[in-house]
Amino acid sequence: MVKISAIRWLALGAVLALGAPAVHAQQAPIKIGELNSYARQAAFTVPYRNGWQLALDEINAKGGVLGRKIEIVSREDGATTGDATRVADELVTREGAILLFGSFLSNVGVAMADYANQKKIVYIAAEPLTDAITMAQGNRYTFRIRPNNTMQVGMLVDQAKASGAKRWAIVAPNYEYGQSAAQAFKRLIQERVPGAQIVVEQYPALGKIEAGATVSAIEQAKPDGIFNVLFGPDLTQFVREGNTRGLFEGATVLSLLTGEPEWLLPLKDEVPEGWTVTGYPWDQITEPKHKAFVDAYRAKYNDTPRLGSLLGYMVVYMIRDAVERAGSTDTEAIIKALEDAKFDTVIGPVTMRGIDNQSSMGAWVGKLVLKGAAGGMADWAYKDGTSFMPTEAEVKAVRKD
């Protein structure tokens, strides 16, 4: 074993020797650690990586931050909690990352929040949506950019009020994200739609849906409203099976994230028209700043942006701003610079609420339509997150810090 350690040392030495010469010319770059499920959730994370790479290149072309370039050390998080914290540890102890961002699955996000708290390092959860990250499992080291489940479900439930649907079905992947979204939906629909009841709940394992059986089990309960949390391959199968069997005819369907290009494009011409969704109608947003982002992205990658691209792009700029305002790479200074800070992003101003470290980034809510051979969103509006956030009292009731 001693021998093996020696080999490791040599290997490490070789890697360092190869990597070192480039950076000695000027001040060492600021290292930021990034981890995500690039293998298992490639549909979202690859465009996301393109997004942060674009922002990184732009920032470094303008000289970086605090007179130093930014370097992002990116790793695969294995899409499991254990692998993610393991990789995080490597990023912090070996690479010397000053803060961490990333992760896709909500359960991984929760584990990362726990890790951040334990090791006292800032973690910015870019994508994980479960409430827990900023509520029950939240801590002062963990920040989140995207609107959480309560906020996005809140936006959808507001749309559902007019439909008059009372008998609701829930279909959600059986892990942290799906459970948290289903819980938020049950709470909000009963608060805001008097007389609403849940008649059937289906929780297929993530990535392992038996679509035929799931659809007929829902059909059996004869709901007039369906709340869907499925995404990725599960969603595709569910939609196809539901379309064939007429599950969605005459039912009000609320669906989280389905309007995002990463999940909409694989559906091709089978887009279920009329679903009320949260999403990202990138081609219809006319604000000049956003258009500039889209143009730069398309020029660089010869591909259209996904929501992941936007998110990756925004997060790196927000990190740049925070480090600049902190004036140093010290964790406490960065936390101070993030809390209650306002950021000017490509989609407008976003505030990081200090009490739960949840940003006020909103979501686009609209209806799915078929445009040619692919789906898109219509009748959409951007809903700012501020008015959908959990109240301060709710936050204080569940957070431990």
Binding site: V46, A111, Q137, G212, T236, R245
Partner: protein, 618 residues
Amino acid sequence: MLALDPSFLAVQALSGLSSASSLFIAACGLTIVFGVTRIVNFAHGSLYMIGAYTAATLIPRLLDLSFGPMTFWAGILASALIVGLIGVIIEVLLLRRIYGAPELFQLLATFGVVLVVQDLVVQVFGPEDILGPRAPGLRAPVEILGRRFPSYELVLIAAGPVVLGLVWLLLRRTRFGVLVRAATQDRDMVASLGVNQAMLFTGTLFLGAFLAGLGGALQIPRVSAHTGMDLSIIAEAFVVTVVGGMGSVPGAFLAALIIGQLQAFGILIVPKSTLVVVFLLMAVVLAIRPYGFFGRAEVVGGSHAVGIASRKPLPGRFAMLLAVVAGLACLPLVADAYLLKVATEILIFALFAFSLQLLIGVGGVVSFGHAAFFGLGAYGAALAVKWFGLSMEAALPAGLALAALGAGLIGAFVVRLSGIYLAMMTLAAAQILFAVAFQWVEVTGGDNGIVGVWPAGWAGGPVPYYLLTAALTVVAVLLLRRIIDAPFGYALRAARDSEARAEAIGLTIRRHRWLAFMIAGAAAGLAGGLYAFSRGSVDPSLLGISTSVDALTMLLLGGIQTVMGPLAGAAVLHALRDWVMPLTSLWRLMLGLSIIAMVLIFPRGLVGTVRDWWEARE
């Protein structure tokens, strides 16, 4: 309940039939390949995935040529043929070289192929899931008892029996089929009769891969081709082949029918039970019929029983032990925090692999599910922390006890079986535990796992935790070594080499193996507990197939015929992974290729090869 509605029951049963058909087509190639080559082909799921990707990419282009609806079916066949050719390539380049190797090596090599294919598929077909086109003319549903039912599912329901019939004809009415059946019964006899084995095996692999590809291609109108397909189908395909009896095509069909119905109706009664029912079925069937429905007893032993042999103790081994212990103790003086973390993990995996050595190398009991005990140890410790507020000092023994208990329970069932069925029973046990951990959300946290499992204050830093792990691992390894060299260990070896003779001299084989299970389980449980505290969390992947494969890889890499092999294997594999992963996004490709290369170059394992070389020089 509403479920009593007859039209609903009919539709649900039809859904079950169509998934049964799909499952049968995917699994029947696996069972044919196993029958002839005796290789448990992990890569069968990868071939299935390639079939789906190929069809989803190819068929839309064919349909654009507008030659009518037949192009769809032609595209399906073409995709299956392409996958069949890929199967031939795998046979010629890899499998042909390892037919003589121990079964475990073959398994490992095919797992290497799985890893390679996972990365290649993303490179070739892109990261996004690909939704294939629907079958022309089968887009509209049909009405069955007033309910809509997808017409394509009816085609699938018919496809299963058609494939069964064609395979039956092929096996009964052609010379190739006669040879396949003969080889399934007695491979050596077929060889001695002068049959061209190379052609036979290549043909079989082509047939197996063709069926896997067909299974995958037929799925594209209902499932988008995605990267998780390989492992999700392979676990179920294993169950089908084992329950039906390895090598039996009609058995596989019957098993697929039962599983399809169980899944369709299981989802109504317990919506979260989908993962667990298939493996429960396998456990129940194997408990009642140790060779599945139509399987036959295997020729036990033969050329495949390999393991630790007796040797003269090395001179100066006490001094070597002292040097190793001193080296381990001094590591914190030179290593930084991260290196210590890696060293801690290597020690934990070394103990894990070593505990498996007691079962496989010493006892000849090939376990595919050793992750069960590692995971039980980790979950035992984490649950003790979460639910009973125990400290690390109390939680580690709790994990160990839970693992030993689980090993006692699982072992009681497993020791009645032998060969591939035994291995599959251990896999089933691990998968049942995985499903429990995954779906019993209230207690285990489900996919989220349990976080906040950090060590006690005095052991919190990297140095103290490393020293604690090193001390526990060294003590446990020495204890296991003592057991291997004790009469108990010799009794296990006797049973491994010849059950009949061991029984004749009065050894109680089952009880010995059962005890070995508990000892190995306890050691793996200790490793699992240590692992939980080193990462601060547990999650179901600790109980998953890949954790079991990790242990096997380390064991085989180091050398199954040596006592210290697994320790070296753990060190090399973990160091390699830690080193390769950050360098490239294609790390699975690299890892898979290294595994394959190692199987081909060091079939006796690293330590075994070095020792052979050393002995040859003397």
